[in-house]
């Protein structure tokens, strides 16, 4: 029996669609587990005042992150607050969102923004041109 090649193409499409349907997580808004080797970002998180706001402490010592955490994970739509303390005056620049926050020695400065776009955005010490880490904004 001769089967039309188009039948096989349709079969492939149906298989891929079915697999997608069954493997896609049913719960929306929650990030699925990634292939992880870094500790979850939430460990060092300070208590959030609102459900959709996330706050992180960023301690900079000698142009490096002092508290070990260099990737902050948030969900799209979160209000993000980064509390910056440093042993030297500098400026923090967040790429993509193109936000900057200057800070003085041993004084807490805050970088606040709404993470309305998903993606991975690195932040650096603007004047020293030193990459510190990244903020990963997962889609809703």
């Amino acid at each position: 029996m001769k089967i039309n090649p188009a039948v096989y193409a349709v079969l492939i499409v149906i298989t891929l669609v079915c697999l997608f349907y069954f493997l896609k997580p049913k719960t929306s808004g929650k990030q699925t587990e990634l292939l992880q080797s870094t500790p979850p970002a939430d460990q060092n998180k300070t208590p959030s005042p609102k459900e959709n706001s996330k706050s992180f402490d960023l301690t900079i010592k000698d142009k490096k992150i002092g508290n070990g955490q260099d990737v902050f994970k948030v969900t799209q739509g979160d209000d993000v607050v980064i509390n910056i303390t440093s042993d030297k005056p500098e400026e923090l620049h967040l790429h993509g969102y193109d936000l900057s926050q200057e800070f003085e020695k041993d004084q807490i400065a805050q970088l606040k923004f709404n993470a309305n776009i998903s993606g991975r955005f690195s932040f650096e010490l603007e004047k020293s041109k030193v990459d510190l880490g990244a903020i990963e904004v997962s889609p809703k």
């Binding site: 896609k24 292939l35 998903s118 993606g119 991975r120 690195s122 041109k129 510190l132």
Partner: protein, 474 residues
């Protein structure tokens, strides 16, 4: 020869300079693919493979037949057959090439702000490659080095003849070596606009000298890696030129029209695949960790904990990843030869299946880099108004601010996985067609496809795995 001793340190410094910019040009804003999508990609690729096997179970197609549709009757299709059209394209190509070099020498040396970085890396190496995959080998017509030589020949009315016969044994090895150096510069060279112009100037001198010695046909067929690269990519195009007419054909079918004519071409295709995979891998937490804890330890013993040591580690990683990809291919082809008891020479067998790897290599490239066109590509809007950074505003776009937030992570993930699965399906399909044409017995053809399928699945899962790994910060 003595003079060369003075040049090497300069070349070494250019290849392994001190870091000048914290975040390099071409930063990706992609998130790692989520685990479920990674699983889906793997499962989807494997499931689709079995349907393809089922399709080929009773199929025998010793000759390559495919439908074509003559586009020449349409008015728009007549334009590319006109000589004046080619002349315009050639002039544009030469102007842009000259501008790329001049802006690197005269403009700012900040990679994020110079016109030549966006034009060369994003528009030419990515967008133009994807356009080539859509419309065919335009590069063979607009290649600025080739055009300059041809116009020079016409002007002085002398044809450049080869002074030294190109050694056949060299085949595509010069292109492979030059392509390797090019990727090395891209990955570890901390390229700046000035250095890009300098390298292009050196390459121009190399081209003219080599054409003078070996003739233009040999150089542009075997040695100019841009020509080899775009010729391979153009085989994907659903457009075919035949006797002055333009035809529409099934995409990717061009990969079956001819076999790789030398082992070195297989190496070139494998390097296209491995270098893209390696670029992604070295930027992941696991990849960087493996590099530091294996090769890094060896290089740091010899060179100390230096920047140079880190760069040498990355370079060695590029070579080792290539050897690993090649080893997997050759190992599984050895199995294919054994199970089919084929009497064909091994070299001929491995060359036969070379181009069936191209869809996977192309999918790797698309999945890894396509978002750069949407983000870094926007720089062109600003830079075109002031290519030399002289303060011009030619098109009133000099103040355009690049919006890096245009790529939605969700769409990027799904497209990345879709590219990889599609590349895999096409690769498996093409390999089966090659097998049916190559092996006289249907049974042998199908047997040969078991290791070939394993190979495709390994390459595909590797590509997906790299996309899903957490990315290195800083």
């Amino acid at each position: 020869m003595k003079r060369a001793i003075f040049f090497w340190p300069a070349i070494f410094i250019l290849l392994f300079p001190r870091p000048s910019y914290a975040h390099a040009f071409g930063q990706l804003y992609n998130l790692p693919v989520p685990f479920w999508l990674y699983l889906y990609g793997g499962a989807g690729a494997i499931a689709a493979s079995f349907i393809i096997i089922a399709y080929f179970i009773n199929k025998t197609t010793p000759t390559l037949k495919y439908p074509t549709y003559n586009l020449s009757e349409f008015g728009f299709a007549k334009i590319p057959t006109k000589k004046s059209f080619f002349i315009v394209l050639k002039i544009i190509s030469i102007v842009l090439f000259t501008l790329t070099i001049l802006t690197g020498y005269l403009g700012t040396n900040d990679p994020r702000l110079n016109f030549n970085m966006t034009l060369f890396w994003i528009i030419f190496m990515l967008l133009f490659a994807y356009i080539t995959a859509l419309i065919g080998n335009v590069w063979s017509i607009i290649n600025p080095w080739k055009t300059t030589i041809e116009w020079l020949e016409q002007f002085v009315k002398i044809q450049i003849k080869e002074r030294i016969t190109y050694p056949n044994a060299l085949s595509y090895y010069p292109a492979l070596i030059l392509y390797f150096i090019f990727i090395l510069i891209e990955l570890v060279g901390e390229i700046t606009p000035f250095k890009l112009s300098l390298y292009l100037t050196i390459y121009t001198l190399l081209t003219f000298t080599s054409v003078f010695l070996f003739g233009k046909n040999s150089w542009f067929k075997y040695c100019d890696f841009f020509s080899v690269f775009f010729k391979i990519i153009s085989k994907i195009a659903p457009i075919e030129f035949n006797q002055g007419k333009i035809y529409l054909r099934p995409p990717f079918i061009g990969l079956l029209k001819e076999d790789a004519d030398h082992f070195s071409l297989l190496l070139f295709v494998v390097f296209m695949l491995s270098s893209t995979a390696y670029d992604g891998f070295k930027s992941t937490v696991i990849g960087a960790g493996i590099l530091t804890n294996t090769l890094g330890r060896v290089t740091s013993v010899i060179l100390g904990e230096t920047y140079l040591s880190a760069q040498v580690t990355k370079s060695l990683g590029l070579i080792i990843s290539f050897l690993m990809f090649l080893y997997v291919y050759l190992f599984l082809m050895t199995i294919a030869k054994t199970v089919t008891k084929s009497h064909f020479p091994f070299g001929k067998l491995v060359a036969k299946f070379t181009f069936s790897l191209v869809p996977i290599a192309f999918a790797y490239n698309l999945a890894h880099y396509y978002t750069l066109i949407l983000t870094e590509g926007q720089n062109m809007i600003r830079e075109i108004s002031d290519p030399f950074n002289f303060g011009w505003n030619l098109f009133h776009t000099a103040s355009y601010q690049t919006n890096y937030l245009v790529v939605n992570a969700n769409i990027a993930w799904h497209l990345q996985v879709a590219f990889i699965i599609t590349g895999h399906i096409i690769g498996v399909y093409l390999a089966h067609l090659v097998a049916l044409r190559f092996f006289t017995s249907h049974k042998k053809a199908m047997l040969s496809q078991i290791p070939m399928l394993a190979l495709m699945i390994i390459y595909t899962l590797t590509g997906l795995w790299i996309l899903a790994l957490p990315i290195l910060s800083g």
